[in-house]
Structures are given as structure tokens and as C-alpha cells.
């Protein structure tokens, strides 16, 4: 079977002042097949977001390769056609709903702009497609005419998802996309993501620190710590019976009835 996305031996180093090198990602490999949902889980500094950014082409890897349909992509992506091709392979939704939209542009305009960039030049078609997308993410039509400032966090995140969908990508990277939302709104967006995954035949690369969210949205999970993969497998297997002590510790740290927090010295 051809994997839709393959990342092989990714390594990312940052040069620090004073000549030191920080290895943010340390020989990480993973793949996502069509329609699959892989979650990368870890705490801050685990390298999970760096992996996502490398896959999206936002940062070059120090070494290692990223392939879509076993085709290697060039991190520089100099040509417009190459960039558009990549855009249709992968889109990304970011954590902060307040910075993910241009504050000066209405929702309709911003979606329309993306559609135009992908060759949809007829204004009426674009409007129809925008209306369709709004409906798909469960937003009323009037939201299309609003500026981001007039929208709530949940609405903004729906708009960000909708903009990502406008390109008709095959893989959606969700970088902590629901963690900044209020619980009651977060649940709506998680449900929306599950629905979209089924209806749009999307694959997910889900970056999160929240094991509860991960349980709901991913088939497989990869646990990272300090830039390395410590455990991976099916979500149910890893969360029900973790084999790595770090995964166990992450699970133990989640508050629940009868929970007794344990202090660790630092």
C-alpha cells in the first residue's frame, strides 16, 4: 500500500548562541495512509510541533525526507505550481484562533482569495463554494460577511478549518487546534472534525498534548519526549495499556475522580 505521507528519519537542529546545538527532533519517522488519523502527543519541548511544521514545509529539516505518495517534496518549493501542489497535499490549522485570520479581511474575502489562487476565477462560483464551505463547518451565512474581530474563538477556528478545506487537501495538520477553546466549544469542534474526516475523506495529523482529545480523533498515536519517539501504536492500545513509563506517567497525570496528584522535585 502506498502511504499518503511518509516522514523518514527527520532531524531538526537549532543553533543556539554560544555555539551549542539543540536537537529538537531526533530521528523521527512516521507515515499516514489515506484517510488515516495519526496523533503526535507530547509536552512542550517534545518536538511534536516541529515535526508538523517540517511536514507542512514551514521549516526545513536538518536531515531526513518528507514524501507525499512516495514523492519527495522540495522544502524550498520555489515554483508556484509546486507550492500549489503541496497546498493540496497538506493544510494546517493552528492553535491560536485569534491570530489565524487576517483581521482586516472578511471571511468571504479570505476564502475567496484562496479559491482564486487555486484557479477558481469565476466570482459566482467562488461565492457558491464559500457558502458551501460555511455550511460544511456549521457556520451561518452571515459569518461570511464578518471580520474576525466580530467572531468568537470557536467561530474563528471553524473559519480556519474551512479555509484549510477550501484547497481540498488530502491531509490536515491540526496543531493543538482545539486546545485554546472553551470546553463546551471544543467539543463542537472535535465533533466537526470527526464528521469532516469521514465526509471529506481526509487524513489527520493531530498534534496535541491532550490525551482525551487524542482518544476521540485519532486511530494511531505516537508519543514524543525530548525530540524522540517513546512509543507508538493504535490509540486504544497505547492509551489502554501503555508500554513506555513516560506514556504511563502522562496518563497518570490526568485529573479524574479519586486522583491523587504526586509531587516530583525539580
Amino acid at each position: 500500500m502506498v502511504e499518503q505521507l511518509t516522514a523518514r528519519h527527520l532531524r531538526k537542529e537549532y543553533r543556539l548562541r554560544g555555539g551549542e546545538t539543540l536537537v529538537a527532533v531526533h530521528d523521527v519517522s512516521f507515515s499516514v495512509s489515506a484517510g488515516d488519523s495519526l496523533a503526535i502527543v507530547g509536552e512542550s519541548g517534545s518536538g511534536k510541533t516541529t515535526c508538523a511544521r517540517i511536514v507542512a514545509g514551514l521549516e526545513p529539516a536538518t536531515s531526513g525526507t518528507v514524501l507525499f505518495d512516495e514523492q519527495e517534496v522540495d522544502a524550498a518549493q520555489a515554483r508556484v505550481s509546486a507550492r500549489r501542489w503541496r497546498a493540496r497535499q497538506v493544510q494546517m490549522v493552528f492553535q491560536d484562533p485569534y491570530s489565524s485570520l487576517d483581521p482586516r479581511q472578511s471571511v468571504n474575502d479570505s476564502v475567496s482569495e484562496v479559491l482564486a489562487a487555486h484557479g477558481l476565477h469565476d466570482r459566482r462560483e467562488r461565492a457558491a463554494r464559500t457558502a458551501d464551505l460555511l455550511d460544511k463547518v456549521g457556520l451561518p451565512e452571515r459569518v461570511g460577511r464578518s471580520k474576525p474581530k466580530q467572531l468568537s474563538g470557536g467561530q474563528r477556528q471553524r473559519v480556519a478549518i474551512m479555509k484549510a478545506l477550501a484547497v481540498k487537501p488530502r491531509l490536515l495538520i491540526l496543531d493543538e487546534a482545539v486546545s485554546a477553546l472553551d470546553v463546551s466549544v471544543q467539543a463542537q469542534v472535535i465533533n466537526l472534525l470527526s464528521d469532516l474526516r469521514a465526509s471529506e475523506k481526509l487524513a489527520f495529523l493531530f498534534i496535541s498534548h491532550d490525551l482525551g482529545v487524542v482518544r476521540q480523533v485519532s486511530d494511531r498515536v505516537m508519543v514524543m519526549r525530548h525530540g524522540r519517539v517513546v512509543e507508538e501504536g493504535s490509540t486504544d492500545a497505547v492509551l489502554d495499556a501503555p508500554s513506555d513509563p513516560y506514556t504511563q506517567r502522562l496518563l497518570d497525570a490526568i485529573p479524574r475522580p479519586g486522583w491523587k496528584p504526586v509531587a516530583r522535585a525539580v
Binding site: R83, R84, F94, S99, P103, R104, E113, A117, K163, A164
Partner: protein, 286 residues
Amino acid sequence: MTTLALPSVLPRGARERFRSVDPVALVVGAVCALLVLLAVVGPMISGYDSQTGDILHAGEGPSAAHWFGTDALGRDIFTRAAVGARLSLVAPAVCVLIAAAVATVLALVSSWFGGWVDTAITRGLDIVFAFPSLLFALIAIAIFGTGITAPVIALSIAYVPYLARVARVTARRERHAAYITAGTLQGLAPSRVAIRHLLPSMFPVIRTQATIMYGSCLTDLAGISFLGLGVQPPVAEWGSMVNEGRTALLDGHPEEALFPGLLIVVTVVAFNLLAERFALREDRVK
């Protein structure tokens, strides 16, 4: 009612957010309108020429015929101040517009490409920054001779670092905002993302800074004319009027020096207040 005031409870800017009518904006608007009116129709209603004097009525105090009196050559001071307003108000505007345009482009390029481009531009600006603006203008005059063109161009260059650095800070912050990243990811042309999305994000801060700069530019340019190195007689300009009025001032006729001086102060205060409003609005957008 509480007595212990700890305002940080509210997010910054929220305190100012819901001011309804803004009296300051009204005053600033009125002052600007009056200045424009003075420059445009002032010379017409006075009925005098700014450069021909009536030697018989030289050095007179205010009267019904000459609202602000006449200068040593018998020219009507009100008319000269009104005509002078044109040069005094337009020259700094030109200066600031050029500086703002150059600074915006530099900040955009510098933040967009980063790396060595950013370093090169920043270092270049550091060198220009080493020249205080008035010094820069005076050197330009030493080279190109007295007049208004050399200092206008020199000040345009001298102000660039002040505007560019502030714009660059904003641009660098926005550069890594999710909407800019998402734009590139969504296959929009980089030039489009830079120009349609990143560039407008810099406008509010550029507008605020340029407005403040207008006041200091007006002051600097008039100062150069005051030194006798800018606008040359008999052309009317506020700075040179203050200079020419010094003799009369010592003789007890302060109108020629004080009236244009007052106009300078009023204009600068108005523009500083305007800049403050712009800054408040910047806060509010966030």
C-alpha cells in the same frame, strides 16, 4: 464601592475601549481645518501681497488694516504667515511621506526575507541613525547650498530609521502570525501574502509614527529656515519669519516672530494629539 484600585484586572487597552465621543479628535480636526483654511484662503481675504511691502507703514503694530501688523519692510504679517503656511505645512508632509514610503518598503523586505537581508538593512539604518536629523540636513545644505530641497530630501532619509525600526518590529511579529503562515501554506503567492496581508498590518503603527514625525519635521525645517539656511527671503515661511522678526522683537514689536511661532506650536500640538489618538486606536485593534 471599592477604594483599592488595581487596574490590571482588565486587559490592557480595555479601559479606553468604550469611549464614545472624542472631544480631542474634534479639536484636532477643527485646528487642522483652520490651518488649511489659513493656507488656502488666508492670502485672498487679507488683500495684500506677501512679498511687496508698503515702506510707509513698516514696523507697525496690529491694526484693522494689518491684523498682525507689518514687518520691517512694511509687508502684512498675517498675509506672510498665511502664505508661509503653504510651504511650512506641505514641505514636512512631503518629507514624511517619502520617509514613510521608504521605511515601509525596507521594513517589509527586511522582515519578509529575514537573515542577511534583514541584517544588512538594519546595519544600514544604524549608520543613518548615527546622524541626528538636523545635522544630516545641515550637511546636505553644506553640499547643495541653501534652499528647501536639500533639507527636505536629507530629512526624508534621516527619518527613515525611526520609522523603519518601529515598522519592522510590527512586521516581524506579524510575519510569524498564523494567518500569514496559513496564507503561504494555502498556495497564495508570497508576493501577495507580503503585500496584501503583511503590509497592511504595518499601516497603523506607521501612521502613528509618521504623524508624530510630521511635527518634528515641521520644527526641523522651520529651524533650518530660522538659521537662514533654508527658505530664502523674500519668500514667506514660518521659520524665516521668526528669524526676521527677532530685530522687531527687541524693538517691542513681537508680532512677526510670535505669530508664526504660535502657528508652529499649535500645528505640532495638533499633530501630536492626532498621533496619540492613532496610538489608542492601534491598542484597540488588538
